[in-house]
Amino acid sequence: MSEFLLLAALFLLGTIALGFLRVHWGPSRADRIASAQLVGTGGVAMTLLLAAAGGNSAIIDVGLVLALLAAFAAVAFVKSTSADGAGDPEENDE
């Protein structure tokens, strides 16, 4: 079983590598940061697979922390695109 889980993690690593291309190409900054988010989600999935493969449920905590904090960089980016750098893109909506 653990052999299968490790191969599944390897497969995820492959999908993360595909995501690298979009971080590299862009073209917009939003593309780069959104694909970094994809690596985050893939990384969370990998921690779950590794927790099961190693029979160590403490590894799930790493996934928990990653899932909690992975969005923060994107939030900081979105704030930086607002007019004064401290706002929110939705502020001026009707």
């Binding site: 490790l6 493969a53 190693g54």
Partner: protein, 111 residues
């Protein structure tokens, strides 16, 4: 099934390459934010090398003493990064640049 000693060797060698890469980035880039990135790559390379050498084998994990020192190191690296960034921002807001230019500084001194 977890990593083996062979895998640990792989991570240790990766750490060696990361140190080299970070060193290269630190030398060739003049932009200070890029130098801060390079400094962090060197740091994590050293941590990876140190931790991988303390790997004891499947099921035993990594030696707790290096682990504790690495955690300390990661936090100190973050605090130094924050300080360096505060300095760069100060430089940028006063001099409109993120590059330390030795020639320019010398000129300013003579003025």
């Amino acid at each position: 099934m977890m990593a083996t000693i062979d895998s640990a060797l792989l991570f240790a060698l990766t750490g060696c390459v990361l140190i080299g890469l970070g060193l290269y980035g630190f030398i060739v880039h003049a932009h200070l934010l890029r130098r801060i990135l390079a400094f962090n790559v060197i740091g994590s390379g050293i941590f990876l090398l140190f931790g991988a050498l303390g790997y004891l084998g499947a099921g035993q994990g990594t030696d707790p003493v290096p682990q504790a020192l690495i955690i300390t190191g990661i936090v100190v690296a973050l605090s130094l990064t924050a300080f360096a960034i505060a300095l760069v921002i100060k430089l940028a807001e006063e001099e409109k640049t993120a590059v330390l230019d030795a020639a320019k500084t010398a000129e300013d001194l003579h003025e």
